[in-house]
Amino acid sequence: MVEFKPVYKPFGERAILVEWPEGIDVVILKDITSFIQKIENNNIESLVEMKHGYNSLLIIYDVFIKDFAKEIQCIDKIYRSKEIIINTETVSWKIPVCYDANFGVDLDLISKEKKLTKEQIIRLHSESVYTVYFIGFLPGFLYLGGLSEKLWLPRKSTPRLQVEKGAVAIGGGQTGVYPNESPGGWNIIGNSPIDFFDVNKKIPCFAKAGDTIVFYPISLQEYKKIKILVDAKVFQLESEVVND
């Protein structure tokens, strides 16, 4: 296993930022998630919560940190501990997406820019396996890695004031699903009828960092059927557990 040398920085009065080398890489992701588990196993009383990005982790305390150097030393000791993390179970989710022109309002533009037919765009988008790196931006917004380079397209220079809930979009080298109506600058290629965030659940997101996602195309009719089931809270997402 690769040994990283994370860099620790104070972030305000009650948080420590941990940084890995810059890059979007599953090896870094694994290192971050196992570090999170080690910290959780240590039950640090003053710790409120942790959140991470592609190559960073923020550790947030509920008290002001009096001695950053000491706390960093303590955290780094946990990082270096040889404790074996057993729970590496990840889930692969199958997410239906309707790429119908009603939803994929930017398909024409991408088709022109990338010199690809709509069918090619849909195939490229739905044949990749995407890794969930983290959740951020909006409640339930998954940051996914693994978009085919043939589909990389810059964000719009002027963001749309309103992007529909469920919009599946491409922004730079990333793809994602807007879990709720929001402003947004990504190029929209379809829509998913699935709820990515449910406030009524104890864990409001079904996916977690390290899980994988595959999008599969559905027709407008299928979209409507699934939407009814989702709204009635009876739709069962297809998924399988991946052990590594």
Binding site: K9, P10, F11, G12, E13, R14, A15, L17, E19, E22, G23, I24, V48, E49, M50, K51, H52, G53, Y54, N55, S56, L57, L58, I60, D62, F64, F134, I135, G136, F137, L138, P139, G140, F141, Y143, P179, N180, F197, V199, I203, P204, C205
Partner: protein
């Protein structure tokens, strides 16, 4: 309960925020000025993080149908009970039928109303703080009915006294620490940050305060990483954005400064056109 006869510019119910859900992309939310909200609760003998009503710029008109005690704190919006001015930062007895209204904004920007025992609104993801997409409703509107604790107040008016510090309303200094990307700025840019004063633009809300003066830079964006309330982001166009309580959980702009926790309270009482200066700790 309280009936909302008329709503103000932006009123919502807030406690100290929604903790533990940042990893799902859920903002903290919570009262913008934690000091003022705590004062109101403490003077009533409440827990400091009891849910209060946060009012912005102009206040609502509210009618009580229950005898209770209230306290108004933070910005002075000339509160009146049945047409007679009442003091802020003081425990006030109200009777069923009484009408609380607000007038001219004298100082500050956000005012808090605490009721004995706290407001009793829906708890979503362990917090009552209103936020669009998480709570429904997310803002207080005319004809809304708000419930609060029906515990009988058991105190005399003089139960608590507190020396309330109001000096921060006049201070233009925002105390900050260096942010994770501070060192990517040139010495010149760093000096500029601490020597210039910045006007607050009209784009200021519970989510963020944007400043008017620009800091020219050629910093590259960062790989999306964590941000917090109080994080100061610098955009490629040179705009400074100070994130506030309802901010996103992650961001991609360089984080050049981080406000001291108490400085968020100071900024929360500022409004469009006022100027602030950063003071490095």
């Amino acid at each position: 309960m309280i009936s909302v006869l008329k709503s103000g510019f932006y009123d919502s119910i807030q406690d100290f925020g929604r903790f533990g859900f940042q990893k799902y992309g859920v903002p903290y939310s919570g009262v913008m000025d934690q000091y003022a909200a705590s004062v109101a609760n403490v003077l009533l003998g409440n827990d400091i993080n009891c849910a209060v009503m946060e009012m912005t710029m102009t206040g609502p008109i509210l009618q009580f149908n229950f005898d209770t005690n209230i306290c108004v704190s933070g910005a002075d919006m000339s509160p009146e009970l049945n047409g007679t001015f009442i003091k802020i930062n003081e425990c006030i007895s109200v009777s069923s039928g009484d009408v609380l209204s607000f007038g001219a904004l004298k100082f500050g920007f956000r005012c808090y109303l605490a009721v004995f025992g706290g407001f009793k609104t829906e708890i979503v993801l362990r917090s009552q703080s209103m936020y669009k997409g998480i709570t429904d409703p997310f803002v207080i509107k005319k004809n809304d009915v708000l419930f609060f604790s029906d515990a009988q107040r058991l105190l005399s008016k003089k139960n608590a006294s507190l020396k309330v510090d109001q000096s921060y309303f006049n201070s233009k200094y925002i105390e900050v620490f260096e942010g994770p990307e501070f060192n990517r700025l040139t010495k010149l840019q760093q000096n500029l940050l601490f020597s210039k004063s910045f006007r607050i633009s009209k784009d200021n809300s519970r989510m963020a305060y944007q400043l008017e003066s620009y800091v020219e830079n050629d910093l590259k964006p960062i790989l999306t990483s964590a941000v917090l309330p109080g994080t100061v982001q610098l955009t490629p166009s040179g705009k400074l954005i100070i994130l506030m309580r309802d901010c996103q959980t992650t961001g991609g702009y360089p984080r050049i400064l981080q406000l001291k926790a108490s400085a968020i309270n100071v900024l929360a009482q500022k409004f469009t056109g006022q100027t602030v200066c950063f003071k490095c700790l």
